[in-house]
């Protein structure tokens, strides 16, 4: 599939949004869905629907196989060693809560420390905060440099003898900084420290090889990967998933149940309690195959070109101030406009059909550090074009006109 004509695979771009073409620059928040994925949901519900793994009738067997096919596809996509290292969750947030909670049950002791970064999304901070409260552990913050990056050196500096775990984003959803995950993991493992990666922005945009990264856990949100809402993936090394206790209890995750004891099932069932997001899992297979048909290398090249182009445009635009200038940057352009609050920017852009996000993007720590209450963020996906960024720039100029600024 040619990435230059990819927009037409996404039905939403045929729509007029308040009489405008949609210029969707909010993919870091959630991506649009290609037709194949939506059609797959439709087909499953209208022709093949059944619950998974619980009945032996024809539809149930077929659905179970389809469900497990997605697990294999995810395994292939992120190059996990074993398909049982793939656990389906409700989202990346749940995946991170799962890791924090199960590690918390017997791994952490009072006085232990967790190292996170100032770039972290609340979903990769609040779950650790829960442990801070319940286990009396400490959370340290690796600080950003001027460019909005987290360097290996900064991580190294912040590791103490008590550091038990490092939780980092793969790609910042605000500055776009891509973290040196492999190097951080090497360093961490040399000191016996676990590494958890928030891969929300990594998985849709970067070539992934969890064996190469060697991280212990990697969390993914499928709705940011051109997949359905209500679905996430937790990758965890088998040794961890086997060792840790279950997270939620219920149907499907058990082995033997009696009145005074319960034994739990093997992987991956152990972590998939209750009826899962069957239709979403089955449709997500098509998201992965869609991405594979374009080719992750082509996606990375395309998005790198876009971000380069957008950055140049905005740098040349007076009064626009880009947030962060990392050398290694993903498709996120966060900015402020002197004299115009981000919410006003978003409202004015919206009038032209340009959808961006304004606020702290669930990164309050970072915004406090930058001493701004909020920022505007344009983020790209496979369907964006340079025209979209031209329109962004033009609409920003319109903001300036309305607010009488240069």
């Amino acid at each position: 599939m040619n990435i230059n004509h990819i927009k037409k695979e996404f039905p939403i771009f045929d729509e007029k949004i308040q009489n405008n073409d949609l210029v969707y620059l909010d993919s870091a928040n959630s991506s649009q869905k290609p037709k194949v994925v939506v059609d797959r949901i439709n087909e499953f519900y209208t022709k093949q629907f059944s619950n998974v793994g619980r009945s032996v009738h024809y539809l149930a067997v077929a659905a179970t196989n389809l469900y497990e096919n997605t697990r294999t596809s995810v395994q292939r996509y992120i190059n996990a060693k074993d398909q049982n290292e793939i656990v389906f969750t409700k989202g990346a947030t749940e995946a991170l809560n799962l890791v924090a909670n199960t590690l918390g049950q017997n791994f952490f002791r009072e006085g232990d420390e967790i190292l996170i970064t100032e770039l972290e999304h609340h979903s990769n901070y609040v779950p650790w905060h829960f442990l801070r409260k319940s286990k009396n552990i400490k959370i340290n913050f690796a600080e950003i440099n001027e460019a909005g990056e987290i360097t290996l050196e900064e991580i190294e500096k912040k590791i103490t003898p008590n550091t038990k775990l490092i939780a980092i984003t793969h790609l910042s959803n605000v500055t776009g900084a891509i973290l040196p995950v492999k190097e951080i993991t090497d360093l961490a493992h040399s000191k016996g420290i676990i590494v958890v990666v928030d891969g929300c922005q990594g998985a849709p945009h970067l070539k992934l090889d969890v064996q190469d990264l060697d991280c212990d856990f990697y969390a993914i949100s499928c709705h940011k990967m051109y997949g359905p809402t209500g679905l996430g993936v937790l990758y965890g090394k088998k040794k961890w998933l086997e060792e840790l206790p279950p997270y939620q209890g219920g149907g499907g995750m058990i082995n033997e149940v009696n009145k005074d004891s319960i034994s739990y099932g093997d992987l991956p069932n152990k972590y998939e309690a209750g009826t899962m997001a069957t239709a979403q899992v089955i449709a997500f297979d098509y998201s992965i195959k869609f991405l594979e048909s374009i080719g992750i290398d082509n996606i990375m090249k395309h998005e790198a070109e876009l971000v380069e182009y957008g950055q140049e445009l905005l740098k040349k635009n007076n009064s626009v101030k880009l947030i962060g200038n990392p050398r290694n940057k993903g498709g996120v352009l966060s900015f402020t406009l002197e004299g115009v609050h981000p919410h006003d920017i978003a409202t004015i852009l919206d009038e032209d059909g340009v959808a961006i996000r304004a606020g702290h993007h669930c990164c309050q720590i970072l915004h406090d550090k930058l001493n701004i209450p909020a920022s505007a963020r344009a983020s790209v996906g496979i369907y964006n074009t340079k025209d979209d960024l031209d329109q962004l720039n033009e609409s920003i100029n319109n903001c300036k006109k309305i607010f009488n600024i240069e």
Partner: protein, 154 residues
């Protein structure tokens, strides 16, 4: 174009140079408001005299043009009004922002009504209504000495 109605000159002007953006010295009532979704926050200070007349009103905080202008116009306008009158104006304002075409309060003169009506453009921007109303809810909270922060539901 709707945007012109939303960002009228007077809004932009108040947004840029908000009146009463300071902390009233010797205030005797105050309250905080916050909109967790967008990070807007406001702290309203009042100095009431014995007859519960507003001798001074001010605010601190940061936010978009709409929220700053709204707080600015509000604090200007309630000075000299007593608590009862001020609350009645709040009601009237909130009613106008939500559904009523006009302001009806007898506690507002024509000039004051004109100023407030400048904010009526947000009606067409449901997501922005909270920006306009946060400081007003916080004002009521200050009068009532509520301990909790005002939060716009979202």
């Amino acid at each position: 174009m709707n945007l012109k109605e939303l960002y009228q000159e007077i809004i932009l002007e108040h947004g840029k140079n908000p009146r009463n953006l300071r902390k009233t010295e010797g205030f005797n009532k105050d309250a905080k408001g916050n909109n967790p979704l967008c990070g807007d926050n406001v702290h309203v200070y009042l100095k009431l005299n014995g007859q519960r007349i507003v001798e001074d009103a001010s605010f601190e905080g940061s936010g978009c043009a709409i929220s700053m202008a709204s707080a600015s116009i509000m604090t200007d306008l309630i000075k000299g009004k007593n608590e009862h009158e001020a609350k009645e104006i709040v009601e009237d304002f909130l009613g106008m922002i939500k559904e009523n075409p006009d302001l009806k309060s007898e506690n507002l003169n024509e000039d004051e009504k004109t100023k407030l009506m400048c904010l009526s453009g947000v009606k067409q921007y449901p997501m922005r209504v909270k920006c306009a109303t946060l400081s007003w809810h916080t004002l009521v909270s200050a009068f009532d000495e509520k301990q909790e922060e005002v939060k716009t539901e979202n």
